[in-house]
Symmetry: C2
Subunit: 367 residues, 2 copies
């Protein structure tokens, strides 16, 4: 079963160790996104080298391709993708709403068409648990109904209440004896009342961990911070808190101040593939002409193999020439830098210097 | 200066060691193609792991992007791409004819438009030597005029004679004191007489090495073998012979029987990116449904990291999902397999068993 040992606190920030099915994960933790059972462009050995201890896979994508049965036949997600660290699967609700053409939203579940081949499928809270269970992740997520920025209050309340009923159904369908830990997902839109209600109702269901979902979907940053601020104090103190899909390094540093333990985000990988490199001084766009003849590394303080081997000038050439090595290199470096930020966060919470360090980081780091 | 020490012979096949500017290259050698100063999708460390001791870069591409000056400012091709093995640059004649829109063929040289931005450029035999010299390759190639399959006899003779005059001009422009070795390129089209004439005329110019160009451009395989058979006996025995742009493993095994020492080809990398894996039993297309649930490695005898880590089923999934890791993995495996074939070739020439081994390989290997 999942456990979170909190080793140090500073304000609301916590430094801990999450244990699940033999995996030990230092928190606050950043989980690279491996949507289709691969962190895009990297080998599992490289993902490990960046410092990652747990990755995120996406149940919606894997359910559609290659399918649950094939992953099972190949020994589950760990063996299939040759990753011996932790795996969390997202349940797929968000992707059904954002990627597939939705056929029907009903109390029973969602009927939708595959974004790959248009085939029709049905997903329910129970089936989401079954799919994730069979895929073999270590941490699995409740099936929820996301709420778009701009939803009306009645829409928000309706979707949030359905998410609660679905959470209860999923929890009942979950078999804790597998060792897989099920997280509930707090929704509630962009106002305090439904958010707080959602946190309270889900807490009452006693999940091994809690995700905060439906943020960073287009709302202003201050709305996101207000929602997070409203919700985290209501979540059980001894259980992990996972802020879904967030974010930039400064977002992570801020969210840790509010008591978040786990993060995932496509930005370091996706922006890397677009030519952006994260550095300790902020983000740079390597396509910019100023790096044309820059023989220095992406970041002078970064110990990664890319920074030890390649110049900005060479990486820029690769990028302009459309070469895969550019995408790999920027992805690897960005994930390394993210993990170095996480290590600094943990180190400073341990030392009781986090608030001070975070202030300095937020002051000097340029998004 | 370049030297070739021939350590063993069997028939016309030779096993040797090529030394150039501190690099030692076991021959027969296969050179992976790194057109734009990167063997597509791989790091230089991985290229080394596959067993490669020398790679090919393309002077035409690098002259256009990132440009000679930038490569020089970054310390030359070796430092620029962080590759400490040998580098051979192709002069660019072939690419000017095949990729750019050609403006004018004149005795002085070629006026052409960049395939990247349409800008106009001029390349002469002297400039090709200068460009390659400044790029800093270890082995550089004469500037030649390729002859398409289907050319008339007068076209063939005209282009071949120009190639000879250009070879002499390039040789005069070359500074041997750089340690860079200049190879002449035998042309002569697809008939014996002009081919033999070309071999004889170029031999008289006393280059450090000889390339056989203009083959594998669409002509029937038997024409290629006839041309190679006609040419190799005329080339200086003690100098390396490089068959440009060839080929499949069976082509290489056959060409070694005719006395060829060096090869380059895009097939293992390009076909890898298209989903083909080379194995000891032949080539397989991983997109084929028969590999859908195949939990075995690409090749059970291959020691590469891909075969030790990933199943065919997983690689097929990555390929179908359009994931970069599939392209990397197939490229890495294919180049490893090619280098293993080269090692077997050398081992069998040393042991005096090459003809027998080659017969067995050509019998069992399925293209």
């Amino acid at each position: 079963m999942l456990s979170l040992t909190i080793q140090a606190r500073e304000g609301w920030a916590r430094r801990g160790v999450l244990r699940v099915r033999g995996h030990e994960i230092d928190t606050p933790a950043f989980m690279p996104v491996g949507t289709q059972a691969t962190v895009k462009s990297l080998t599992p050995a490289e993902v490990r080298e960046t410092g990652a201890q747990i990755i995120l896979n996406n149940a919606y994508h894997l359910y559609l391709r290659p399918g649950v049965e094939l992953v099972e036949r190949c020994g589950g997600l760990h063996r299939f993708q040759a990753w011996d660290g932790g795996i969390l699967t997202d349940s797929g609700g968000y992707q059904i709403f954002s990627l597939s053409s939705l056929h029907k939203v009903a109390e029973e579940g969602l009927t939708f068409r595959s974004h790959i081949d248009g085939s029709e499928h049905f997903m329910s809270p129970e089936k989401a648990i079954e799919v994730q269970g069979r895929l073999g992740a270590d941490i699995i997520m409740s099936f929820d109904q996301p709420i778009p920025w701009g939803a009306t209050r009645p829409q928000t309340v309706e979707a949030t209440e359905r998410t609660h009923r679905w959470a209860a159904r999923g929890r009942a369908a979950w078999n804790p004896e597998t060792g897989q830990a099920l997280f509930g997902i707090v929704q509630g839109g962009f106002e305090e009342d439904p958010r707080k209600l959602s946190a309270a109702e889900l807490s009452a269901l006693d999940f091994p961990g809690y995700a905060i979902g439906g943020l960073s979907v287009g709302e202003p940053k201050e709305v996101m911070w207000a929602m997070l601020d409203a919700v985290t104090p209501l979540l059980p103190e001894e259980k992990p808190r996972y802020l879904m899909g967030v974010g930039l390094p400064t977002d992570i540093v801020r969210a840790v101040l509010l008591g978040v333990d786990m993060f995932d985000c496509v930005l370091p990988t996706r922006m890397g593939r677009n030519g952006s490199a994260f550095t300790w001084a902020g983000r740079i766009n390597l396509r910019n002409a100023q790096y044309e003849a820059d023989t220095g590394p992406l970041d002078p303080r970064c110990p990664c193999a890319v920074c030890r081997t390649f110049s900005r000038a060479y990486l820029r050439h690769l990028l302009k020439a459309g070469e895969i090595l550019a995408l790999r290199s920027l992805t690897y470096h960005n994930l390394t830098l993210y993990q170095q930020v996480m290590a600094k966060i943990r180190e400073n919470i341990e030392g009781g210097t986090y608030v001070e360090w975070a202030a300095g980081f937020l002051h000097t780091y340029r998004e």
